[in-house]
């Protein structure tokens, strides 16, 4: 009985380590997609001057932005008549609960909603450039954190599992 409990505890430790490591990788992927999203948004906006909801609808169909579920969420909220600022906020709230982004990452995303659509095209493009560079920095930080702690988490998980086994068996 105690052997089974020890094995279960050890397995949990390993899984926790792997999950923590996976979160670092997922944060990198999401931030990279967010950076790509701002580039795509800027390009499309410059070309077509399309309104925000239409842009989001187009972006939500991009398979390369599959992690960014808030795009579709925001577009749906806009379609149902919700004002863009609250649609963006609500969609980001939902998104925040599903991805391992840091508070500072989310802050950049929220700021995009505050500034989107309230200036002429030149202002929008400048702001998207600023957001892009901030997201690039965040992605760079995330990559460093992944390199630094990603493997450590797995190692810690395995070590903890070994310790549990030694103690209980």
């Amino acid at each position: 009985m105690s052997a089974a409990a020890a094995l279960l505890a050890a397995l949990s430790c390993v899984l926790l380590g792997v999950r923590a490591s996976g979160n670092y990788a997922l944060r990198v992927s999401v931030l990279e997609e967010l950076t790509a999203m701002t580039v795509e948004m800027r390009t499309r906006m410059e070309y077509s001057h399309a309104c925000l909801c239409e842009l989001l609808r187009q972006l939500s169909r991009q398979s390369t932005l599959s992690h960014l579920t808030f795009l579709d969420g925001c577009a749906s909220r806009c379609d149902s008549g919700e004002p863009f600022p609250s649609a963006w906020d609500g969609a980001v709230d939902d998104f925040e609960a599903t991805v391992p982004l840091h508070g500072s990452d989310i802050k950049v995303l929220r700021a995009m909603g505050d500034f989107a659509g309230i200036t002429d095209i030149a202002g929008q493009l400048e702001f998207l450039r600023l957001s892009e560079s901030m997201l690039c920095e965040r992605a760079q930080d995330a990559r460093q954190a992944q390199q630094k702690y990603g493997k450590v988490c797995v190692t810690l998980g395995v070590s903890a599992a070994a310790a549990v086994c030694l103690i209980f068996l």
């Binding site: 906006m45 925000l52 863009f84 600022p85 989107a116 659509g117 200036t119 002429d120 095209i121």
Partner: protein, 319 residues
């Protein structure tokens, strides 16, 4: 229920639209403009006069204690909604004092002009909004077709005062010409819809019934559109709304040289105004228009008052 009224009013701030949607169907059907001014009563304009809207959707010709008042927040919220929270998509229109809306409606704007390099680049601090509700009238050009187009194409100028039905008549004329409802021929019609009011195209599809289909150039400056249309669309007739300056006039004149007919509109409420307005005189000077269709002022929109032979008017104007 009046679909077009409801569609237009639903774009106003919820605090006001909630009451405006409760207005009776009879008034909805007659209303062609909704006027919002900061700190002033919300007004519905009909051909019978202006009405104030009160709480609960009631209306009155006189201001009452329950009359709905538009606040600064209501007007700002309405402006943001009308622009789809995307000012960058409407910069050019806003600089000209309006926002074109889905469904062919149009919101006129007043506020403080932002002038850059001598030109209005934007309008800020919006103080009033005039929401014009687009109407579809599929018999608006019936009389025009029978009196002018029954024996083939002509070039015409439709003149009338604001809200006299010029745009509605041009839209129906385009539909009839491309569908063969004037003289049995289906003509190639290009509609130059600079302000997006004539056909209200969204996602490539017109919001109004355009019959067999016209080639619609939305948002193009008229001069560029006429040149492009003549070069690549080989139109029989080009329909465009509101010739407003000499550059647009030059584009029309160039099109005439290529054998294309035109149906255009100008603001002028009577023959005397046509003869006095420099732009209308310039239009006559081109010598290419056959008829000037004067719409009746006041009363029912799209009612033809007089049809003048353009040549005679030109002689009267001494051009």
């Amino acid at each position: 229920m009046c679909r077009r009224y409801d569609d237009a009013v639903s774009r106003i701030a919820p605090s006001l639209s909630h009451e405006l949607l409760l207005v009776g169907d009879e008034l909805k059907a007659r209303c062609f403009e909704v006027r919002l001014r900061v700190g002033a009563p919300v007004m519905l304009c009909t051909l019978d006069g202006t009405f104030f809207v009160c709480q609960g959707g009631k209306h009155s010709r006189l201001r009452q204690s329950s009359t709905l008042i538009a606040t600064r927040g209501d007007v700002a919220d309405t402006f943001a909604r009308l622009s789809g929270y995307s000012l960058h998509s409407h910069t050019r229109d806003i600089a000209q004092g309006f926002v074109g809306l889905e469904g062919g409606h149009r919101a006129g704007l007043c506020g403080t002009a932002v002038v850059s390099a001598g030109e209005v680049s934007s309008v800020q601090g919006i103080s009033s909004i005039n929401l014009r509700i687009a109407r579809e009238n599929k018999s608006a050009a019936l009389e025009l077709c029978s009196r002018v187009f029954s024996r083939g194409l002509s070039s015409i100028v439709i003149s009338g005062e604001p809200s006299s039905g010029k745009t509605t008549m041009l839209r129906d004329l385009a539909r009839r010409l491309c569908t063969g409802l004037c003289d049995g021929n289906c003509y190639r019609v290009v509609v130059v819809d600079e302000r997006g009011e004539l056909c209200a195209v969204r996602g490539g599809e017109p919001s109004f019934d355009m019959g067999n289909g016209c080639d619609i150039m939305t948002g193009w400056p008229k001069a560029a559109a006429v040149t492009a249309a003549v070069r690549s669309m080989s139109p029989d007739i080009i329909v465009c709304d509101e010739i407003a300056d000499s550059e647009q006039l030059r584009a029309v004149a160039q099109g005439f040289g290529c054998g294309v007919h035109f149906a255009v509109s100008v603001h002028a409420s009577c023959k005397r105004e046509i003869l006095m307005r420099p732009l209308a005189r310039e239009l006559l000077r081109t010598g290419a228009f056959d008829h000037i269709v004067q719409l009746r002022s006041g009363g029912k929109p799209c009612t033809i008052g007089e049809i003048y032979a353009a040549g005679e008017l030109a002689r009267a104007a001494g051009v």
